[in-house]
């Protein structure tokens, strides 16, 4: 009987929770659509931890942003779009300020919904690339860099290794067969026409645990370079397979989502020399990590198990938290109120300026490039660097500066794709400035 009562109580409490999800007042709500389960959890966990820990740090060290505490609302999506939509609907009523879906598929779902609800989305380095066109996508931001920048960075890196001439070279793209993996294809095709390399497309279906046939094809066709757009368990399998066919690791370049510790460690020493792109720094040589240790980790307030601090994707989550908090500050400054709404947040994001002073004051000196966001450019400058894995030391190291991408090619593609979206959905382009 007691058990039954407890169960009934639990159900009643749960039911009440559903019905009374009343908006709490005076805090900054940041939903975190995370995934700590499923084939993408290896990459989802560090990112979610980094994002949550930065918010905890801001609360503990600074007493919130402008005196208002930040609150993380975590919702498990499992990288699944249906669950992502459910998470969005269940959290938006609590005064959500900005969404980081951390999934290109979910971002695509949320673009029209969030725009209609007036809530900004920050798809940092993922999502719909043409959302960089702020005149069409008013509430979607993908600064500081997007997929097409990434594709161009990879090609630029290959160019720089070959003294600027890659005519006749073979480049294979191994990609997750989804909206995410298909994003760079157009850019790589355009660049192939420009630079004269041959492009081979090799799709890997979700979740990517089985890639024997793809790597057999690579072994047969012997491309000079392999570029990868992978995520989750697919990354480690691909790197392992590349090691198995003795593909030279320094000619294997992953996008920034295919370059974390969890992706290379399973292949052991054979992964040495593997390269990946990035748009922020790696490592823990920043003042912010001392604060994190003091206020968050040692205080027992770290998200998850607290064992991800300093990994590549943790740093990315941290960076996402940092950019979000800076946008909140900007919004508070513009509107003169500490308790901002999602529309004010959007204005803050659109006016965001990341200078070296701002980064230094957050303890993240030169953690990423300096950049501005503007009304018509929601994508930032698209600077990126290349990082390389050192298997002996077990660390990633940046082997290039943050460099620009081929914006001549990319800008034209962005205009074309965003115009197509505007046409399909009867969106009138906004006037800027």
């Amino acid at each position: 009987m007691k058990k039954l009562k407890a169960t009934l109580l639990a159900i009643a409490v749960g039911g009440a929770g559903v019905l009374m999800s009343a908006p709490a007042t005076a805090d900054l709500v940041f939903p975190s659509l995370s995934y700590r389960t499923g084939p993408y959890a290896v990459n989802g966990i560090p990112y979610a931890d980094g994002y949550a820990d930065y918010m905890t740090l801001v609360n503990e060290r600074d007493g919130g942003v402008g005196g208002v505490k930040a609150r993380i609302l975590e919702c498990e999506t499992g990288y699944n779009t249906q669950k992502g939509v459910e998470c969005y609907e269940s959290t938006k009523g609590e005064g959500a300020l900005v969404y980081h879906p951390l999934s290109t598929g979910i971002t695509y779902q949320l673009i029209p919904k969030a725009t209609a609800d007036g809530i900004p989305i920050h798809s940092m380095g993922y999502g719909r690339t043409s959302a960089a066109n702020g005149t069409v996508f008013s509430h979607i931001f993908n600064y500081p860099a997007n997929y097409w920048n990434g594709a161009s960075h990879a090609v630029n890196h290959i160019l720089s290794e070959n003294d600027g001439d890659i005519k006749g070279k073979k480049i294979a793209l191994v990609y997750h067969n989804s909206a995410y993996g298909k994003e760079p294809i157009r850019t790589l095709e355009e660049l192939s026409a420009k630079h004269g390399y041959d492009l081979t497309l090799i799709p890997v279906d979700h979740p990517g645990q089985e890639q024997k046939s793809q790597w057999l094809q690579i072994r047969r066709e012997r491309p000079d370079y392999v570029v990868m757009w992978g995520w989750g368990v697919m990354n480690q399998v691909a790197i392992q397979e590349a090691a198995n066919i003795r593909f030279p690791m320094e000619n294997f370049i992953g996008v920034w989502w295919s370059g974390s510790e969890n992706d290379v460690i399973p292949a052991g020493a054979k992964a040495n020399g593997y390269k990946a792109l990035t748009f922020h720094q790696v490592g823990t040589e920043y003042a912010v990590f001392e604060d994190l240790k003091k206020y968050v980790v040692d205080a027992g307030k770290a998200a998850g198990n607290g064992d991800q601090v300093g990994t590549v994707l943790y740093n990315r989550g941290l960076y996402a938290g940092f950019l979000t908090v800076e946008a909140v500050k900007k919004a508070q400054e513009i509107h003169g109120t500490a308790d901002i709404t999602s529309e004010m947040m959007r204005d803050g994001m659109e006016a965001l300026e990341i200078t070296s002073d701002i980064m230094a004051s957050a303890g993240m000196s030169a953690f990423g490039p300096e950049f501005n966001v503007s009304c018509d450019n929601h994508g930032g400058p698209g600077l990126g660097a290349v990082q390389q894995w050192d298997a002996n030391a077990g660390t990633w190291k940046l082997i290039s500066e943050f460099e620009p991408s081929d914006m001549d090619v990319i800008s034209a593609l962005i205009t074309e794709d965003s115009d197509a979206f505007a046409g399909e959905n009867n969106i009138e382009a906004r006037k800027c400035g």
Partner: protein
Amino acid sequence: MFYRQAGDFKTTYRGDIQTFPLRQDRIAYYLMLAFAFLVVPFVINDYWASAVLIPFLILAIASLGLNILTGYCGLVSLGTGGFMAVGAYACYKLMTAFPDLNMMIVVLLAGFITAAVGLLFGIPSLRIKGFYLAVATLAAQFFLVWLFNKVPWFYNYSASGQINAPERTMLGFEVTGANAEPAVSYLFCLTILTVLALIARNLTRGRIGRSWMAIRDMDIAAEIIGVNPLKTKLSAFAVSSFYIGVAGALFFSVYLGAVEVGEVFGINQSFLILFMIIIGGLGSIFGSFAGAAFMVLMPVLLKNIMVGGLGWPTDIAAHIEFMVVGGLIVIFLIVEPHGLAQLWRVAKEKLLLWPFPH
């Protein structure tokens, strides 16, 4: 005592063969319809619509469709996800090719296109049975998903390979797109479900449904008494695919708005709907509804209790949710292999006799 047959006289054949022979059942049915049509639209919000009710309504259509094929005609299909994808892509192509077309017509046309595709893939069912047919439909599943990924014409050459539902209206109200009111989308799906469920119920009670069941129970005997297996099996495939296609079209256009074929209409979707009809009850219209409700509501309820109510970490809640739902499926299969529909039947029979069982 309260729920009884006594005093409920039938004086016509019509009265005797109606869907709900008991007056109380009939009243309950009409009350429920009235509640669904007249009360829910006024209290519905975005969360209830897009997390609970709309997926339930749409998946109920899909499980009705699969139940016709598997439950009534005995042909096991693992291609449901693929056929839903056909519905979704047909819907997308029609929506973008004819922007002014009424959404209802688009959805029905998508259903008919899926029916044609289903007919095609149904042809092997004349030769193969049981597990072998399941494997053949599995091939259809993988082929269709591959096709929609491979041929850019299906997704209008978009860079991401995704299809996005533009805003479309029905009688001046927006049904699809981000600005659609939840009540409108809900009523749109509810209307289609109600009509399709009525048709399914009457089909299965009529000649065609009886021939399906004859084939299911023993195909050789059915053939001997004059049931044409070709016509029967293909009609089951066509009707079932029509339902599944309509469900796929709605799933894409009204519920999700943007679809990635490999993820949304993959093999998982096929299994989900198969689980729905197994848990709900094979060969039962009520079972299709019960199974869909169970599979849609259970995870949402568990999540709200564990994360919203008890404040547990999301990953633990997600893992427990897997275990609980999986465990319940196993328990159901052991304790009541005929599904929720059988439980419901038994409960009603007991209730009819209560409190004097002798």
